[in-house]
């Protein structure tokens, strides 16, 4: 198996799907000549030409609108958002059109598009460029929301997303772009809506997605040195959510801590906590705890950025709390 960065894995996924299916095309700011603001689309213009790799103006609503219209007519657009912070400008197209038409047309019109790009904090890009918006999109029926944490998952999920007939919000993470991992050489797909146990454990269930999986795994490693075996469950797709996988784990460990990079209030972790308390009530030995970002706009200062984001030591503290240790 090749070891690739998540950047390379995402690039492969698009390259393979574009080669396989002529209806797949890419549009966005700087995706062509500049080869992507984060170099995810490297080499695609050269391989597939300007017709299928289209640089757009800085106009997110237009990018989304073109993608929605193209998808309605049967194409499979991949609309890159330079970051999801800017996708707010495209929300009307996504929420009121992409997510609605299949339903409102009684299934006659489908919207097989992918909107992808990095979401969440990077490093000192401050309040307007560091936001984790999965909780916004996951609230909308009609959308699929995917957030991979490894190169292997990223490639397998993006290929499934491109082939899916529903609008897929595919949220990557800038910090994870350089993370490396094994990626199968052969053709493979990871079904949307299927979670993954990233680490087996018996003492506590940590639910995390995207970059928070890294935080959870770091915490799990430290906890293991103290004799506590945490199970890390990565749902990978937030909507639809593989909650059975989470329930199965919680029924085994009797404890659950959700780690998320978004804000706490109305954050997606609250949805997980709700489902766990409802479906695993008699198996819980402690309340479900959440480790989240602080309830403020992201500060610019490095030290404050660190204290804003969920950290492994906070995860460890939460785990000890649900285990009633100390």
């Amino acid at each position: 198996m090749a070891v690739l960065t998540m950047r390379e894995a995402l690039n492969q996924a698009m390259k393979e799907e574009m080669a396989r299916d002529p209806t797949v095309f890419l549009l966005g700011e700087e995706v062509g000549a500049y080869q992507g603001a984060y170099k995810i689309t490297q080499g695609l213009l050269a391989q597939f030409g300007e017709w299928r790799v289209r640089d757009t103006p800085i106009a997110e609503e237009a990018i989304a609108g073109v993608a929605v219209g193209a998808a309605f007519t049967g194409l499979r657009p991949i609309a890159e958002m330079m970051t999801f912070n800017f996708s707010l400008l495209a929300l009307d197209q996504i929420v009121n059109h992409a997510a609605k038409y299949r339903y409102m047309s009684g299934g006659q019109v489908r919207c097989p598009m992918v909107m992808r790009g990095p979401s969440g904090a990077a490093a000192q890009v401050a309040a307007q460029h560091s936001q984790a918006f999965e909780s916004w999109y996951v609230n909308i029926p009609g959308l699929v929301v995917v957030m991979p944490s490894t190169p292997r998952d990223a490639k397998g999920l993006l290929k499934s997303a491109i082939r899916d007939d529903n609008p897929v919000i595919f949220m990557e993470n800038e910090v994870l772009y350089n993370f490396k991992g094994e990626v199968p050489d052969e053709e493979y797909h990871i079904p949307l809506g299927l979670g993954d146990v990233k680490r087996q454990g018996k003492d506590v269930t940590l639910v995390a997605w995207s970059r928070s999986v890294v935080t959870a795994m770091t915490a799990a490693k430290t906890l293991a040195e103290q004799g506590i075996e945490a199970e890390v469950v990565d749902p990978r797709t937030l909507r639809p959510l593989d909650d059975d996988l989470i329930f199965e784990s919680v029924r085994k460990t009797n404890r659950c801590v959700v780690v998320e990079e978004g804000w706490r209030l109305a954050g997606f972790g609250g949805e997980i906590a709700d489902r766990v308390q409802r479906e695993c009530f008699d198996h819980l030995d402690a309340p479900v705890l959440r480790v989240t970002a602080e309830d403020v706009p992201m500060p610019y200062a490095k030290a404050l950025e660190k204290s804003y984001l969920p950290q492994a030591d906070e995860v460890i503290a939460a785990v000890k709390k649900v285990l009633y240790i100390q």
Partner: protein, 455 residues
């Protein structure tokens, strides 16, 4: 500051108050950690309470013979020159309710609570720490004319089981229900005294709570001493009497009892017992044979070795037979664990030892908890037959009468035979009549062929 409050520890799972039988130290005595301070009568047994701090026993607040609720200050250990007047004065007023049951990790150990019954801050869910100065420019909602939200009431002090509500994690609750453990008697080690998984696990390794047994028991061989009671006087309730009253009322009023009696031919058992005594100088009692017979039969009738658990019936994997023993101010049921796997002689030795120590109130909690079936024998008092009240959460109890010589008909002739009547009280929620009869038939078969009890 080296003041150690001597607080009445929870020395048994069901203990709510205790009587100070005697102080082993007197005021002014030097005390080290671990020294026996006092002997306490709980609802089950007399237990020793150890010092949790060192210094001088400066003050005894509840003298020998006095009663105190669990968690109350009964004495003070401090340096000789320490000013303890405020503490002593505070003990004069009724102890605050919140000072109550400090969770004792194990029934046999005094709760570590030298740091006083001061409630720890009740843990609250960490709110997101809103760094207020940096609060996002949220659009301030128009000032609502609606009434302001009422501030949340202050958290109750920990450990307090207010209004009988027991705090337990959902998992602990379901585990307790499955194992038929009365939650209220499990000490909680979680925040605010919450009962959590590990508390139930600790409890079940010590065995589920056992009440004092129903129905009186083998009386002491000497003529039972009549208690010194002046007729016409009210008698204060001992802790044991309260427990007996509570548990057996609960049993009688919640589980529908029915009774099945059989008569057992004890000729072979009488002969065997004599042979053992003459030939081997081994003495076993009829009751030992009954214990073994019941244990063997219970392995074949798991539904009799079971408990009603509300929404299901729990069958027990082990056969632990409780034997009711009369003691001066009540009764208690020491337990012969795994009686089905023990030899009659082993059972005999064990029952003798347990009964002797029960009378001295020297049983450890694990020795009177965890039975799955109980036997109550009044044969030594020449009782022909009687009915017993089920020892909850069990499903049946066997009331054993005397082995009596009586005229019996054998082959159409009357001759003298030994007969014993036993009556099984069963909880009809779990055991039906035919099952009770089949179980008793098995017990009878074993006792009528007593050699089978030795193989």
């Amino acid at each position: 500051m080296t003041v150690t409050k001597v607080v009445l520890a929870k020395l048994s799972p069901t203990m709510e108050e205790g009587t100070i039988v005697k102080w082993s130290k007197k005021e002014g005595d030097a005390v080290k950690v671990g020294d026996v301070l006092a002997e306490i009568e709980t609802d089950k047994a007399n237990m020793e309470m150890e010092a949790l701090g060192a210094g001088v026993l400066r003050k005894i607040l509840v003298p020998a013979g006095g009663k105190a609720p669990v968690g109350n200050l009964i004495g003070v250990i401090a340096n000789p020159d320490e000013d303890i007047s405020a503490l002593v004065a505070s003990a004069g007023s009724p102890a605050p309710k919140a000072a109550a049951p400090a969770p004792a990790p194990a029934p046999a150990q005094p709760a570590p609570q030298q740091s006083a019954p001061a409630p720890q801050a009740a843990p609250s869910q960490p709110e997101p720490q809103a760094a207020r100065p940096a609060r996002a420019p949220q659009a301030a909602p128009p000032a609502p004319p609606a009434p302001q939200p009422v501030p949340a009431p202050a958290a109750p002090p920990p450990g307090e089981r207010d209004g009988g509500r027991v705090k337990a994690s959902p998992l602990a609750r379901s585990m307790a229900a499955q194992q038929n453990i009365p939650l209220a008697s499990v000490p909680g080690s979680g925040p605010g005294g919450r009962i959590i998984k590990r508390d139930i696990e600790a409890w079940s390794t010590g065995g589920p709570e056992r009440p004092a047994a129903p129905g009186p028991a083998p009386a002491p061989s000497a003529a039972p001493a009549a208690p010194a009671i002046t007729p016409g006087q009210d008698i204060p309730l001992s802790n044991m009497r309260k427990t007996i009253a509570r548990r057996l009322s609960e049993s009688m009023f919640t589980s529908p009892h029915f009774y099945v009696t059989v008569e057992i031919d004890m000729d072979a058992a009488v002969a065997l017992r004599e042979q053992l005594l003459q030939g081997e100088n081994v003495k076993v009692s009829f009751n030992d044979l009954v214990v073994k017979a019941c244990a063997k039969a219970l392995t074949r009738f798991p539904m009799v070795n079971a408990s009603w658990a509300g929404d299901k019936i729990t069958t027990h994997g082990d056969v632990h037979v409780g034997v009711a023993v009369a003691i001066p101010d009540g009764l208690i049921t020491p337990v012969v664990r795994n009686a089905d796997r023990k030899a009659v002689t082993e059972i005999s030795r064990e029952v003798k030892d347990l009964a002797a120590r029960a009378k001295e109130k020297k049983l450890r909690p694990e020795e009177f908890m965890g039975s799955t079936f109980t036997i109550s024998n009044l044969g030594m008092l020449d009782v022909v037959e009687f009915t017993a009240i089920i020892n909850p959460p069990e499903s049946a109890i066997l009331a054993v009468g005397a082995v009596r010589k009586q005229p019996v008909v054998v082959d159409d002739a009357i001759r003298i035979g030994h007969r014993m009547r036993v009556t099984l009280s069963s909880d009809h929620r779990v055991v039906d009549g035919a099952l009770a009869a089949r179980f008793l038939a098995d017990v009878r078969r074993l006792l009528e062929n007593p050699v089978s009890l030795f193989v």
